[in-house]
Symmetry: C2
Subunit: 306 residues, 2 copies
């Protein structure tokens, strides 16, 4: 497989498109997030139907897919940010024009439900995609200075890469591979479908929120039984916030993560600041990263945009 | 593929084994359920480690699997009932001795988390398995007279089969096939693994509880995108109780069920009294049933035990 391509860098003054591929937005959050994005020096273009509603989603599947495809096709739009997650991105995967995106790679940023889009962009359009903060969510609430600086360095093309520290190493070793994964419940929701990421030789990042510990375990068991955990080169867990923030559940989740990876042959890190309920530091999916369990760090040594 | 075999019938006076393949039990519920089972005229044998605890589960994986295998091997035990669901049965699927079960078919009854076991028994041991009430749950609370009579007729070998009525037909037509499926969240937790049921030409039964509508839709989309919904001969939805019993969510679930099956070529029924939050009428997985959308009924014309 060819390495995913780097999309062109984003710099202050560039136009950032904001789309809503998932759940319906609230105007106040959207406006607050757009303001925060503009304050970083980007010009912001919100898709025409971003505030549509069709049940719990931000408009019909056809409209949400069309707006995403339109921003990828729009030469003025330099990067695309998802407004929020929630639910709905998986439904439009068959309608995304991957061939067009492959011809004209562009930065896409999102996480949570947008995990569906991230892995599809890496594997179907062959382009690096960014697991990172969303507009009507993280930006509306305010990024931490570190999260904001990290995002801008990555998207702006910092040539010296980055390092993220993890809380703990669950399995020893060092591995390198293309980063994939995202929200665990979304990753498993692709298993058995054509939209599951390729796992072989990759570094699998997993985070989640609002799940009971038994569900986290059930999902990890499914990944194991599917063969995915045996085929990846390494695993790195981000933030996994239990339902209600319950402390006993948090401990159980950490125990299940350790148990389900204990007999694997690859290095495993736990607790980097990416995903729900963390600083949500941006990760470049499709880019080659190195996982060093001994130093408890995830390293990327190259620019991830062109 | 050979048709799943009928296990020997269960009659009053027979020994029923009660096992705990999933979550840890509470003694009070177990005793109440065992009493209710005994009151139907069965002799009840509870597995030695049924009240074990290992975290949230009823003992370690090794013990839970060993007790299930032991009851299948025990010539005195005529049928096996799961004590409860919750979580844990998926973890022991690789440790079940399907070859031994295939040589000596036996009635197994359970649902919810036991869905993992039901479909594995049908496809790996080639034996009919029963989606029905569990001991430390439905039996402890008390079966309705109809649910109890239906269960005893099926397991006792009533030669005239049964008919179940559905609330609505979502898609027209008539189809026949072997019944599979169960708890939707458990069925999708097998996708991409070797424990997913075969879907081709079968009648897919789906029920669930405690899920938000968007999750029900996400799971149906996964089944669609996996190709399963396009390959089944028919679909029948049982009870799908939304998280918290919320009425708007109940409506959304019905709408999503209709939307995700609208363009299929097979008949679809909605709302038979099987699964969580219903009378939980027993269904013989692996047995050939007929789905008649026009008459809104699911029909089985033959005895399902030998």
């Amino acid at each position: 497989m060819a390495k995913p391509r780097k999309p062109p860098a984003l710099r202050p003054g560039d136009v950032v498109g904001v789309v809503a591929p998932s759940a319906a937005l609230e105007r106040g959050y959207l406006e607050a997030g757009v303001g925060a994005l503009a304050a970083l020096g980007y010009r912001v273009k919100v898709s025409a139907h971003a505030l549509d509603r069709a049940g719990i989603m931000a408009g019909t599947d056809a409209v949400r897919a069309a707006e995403l495809n339109a921003f990828f096709a729009d030469p003025e739009v330099r990067a695309i940010f998802a407004a929020r997650g929630g639910y709905g991105a998986g439904r439009i995967l068959p309608q995304i024009d991957y061939a067009a995106i492959a011809r004209r790679p562009k930065i896409f940023v999102g996480f949570s439900d947008a995990t569906f889009v991230l892995n599809a962009l890496v594997d179907r359009a062959g382009v690096i995609a960014f697991h990172g903060p969303m507009v009507a969510m993280d930006f509306a609430r305010g990024l931490t200075p570190r999260s904001s600086a990290h995002l801008q360095r990555l998207l702006g093309g910092a040539p010296d890469g980055f390092e993220l520290e993890a809380e703990a190493a669950l399995r020893p070793g060092t591995a390198a591979g293309e980063l994939i994964g995202g929200c665990l419940s979304v990753v498993v929701a692709t298993l058995g479908t054509p939209y599951a990421p390729r796992f072989d030789g990759r570094i699998l990042f997993l985070e989640d929120t609002g799940e009971k510990a038994y569900r986290i375990d059930r999902m990890l068991v499914q990944l194991r039984q599917s063969g995915a955990l045996g085929r990846v080169a390494g695993i790195v867990f981000g933030a996994i916030r239990p339902l209600g923030g319950d402390e006993l559940e948090r401990i159980r989740i950490a125990e299940f993560a350790a148990e389900q990876t204990r007999d694997l042959g690859c290095p495993v890190l736990f607790g980097i600041e990416a995903g729900h309920g963390s600083e949500n530091l941006t990760l470049p999916f499709g880019a080659t990263v190195r996982l060093e369990a001994g130093a408890r760090r995830l390293v990327c040594e190259d620019a991830v945009v062109s």
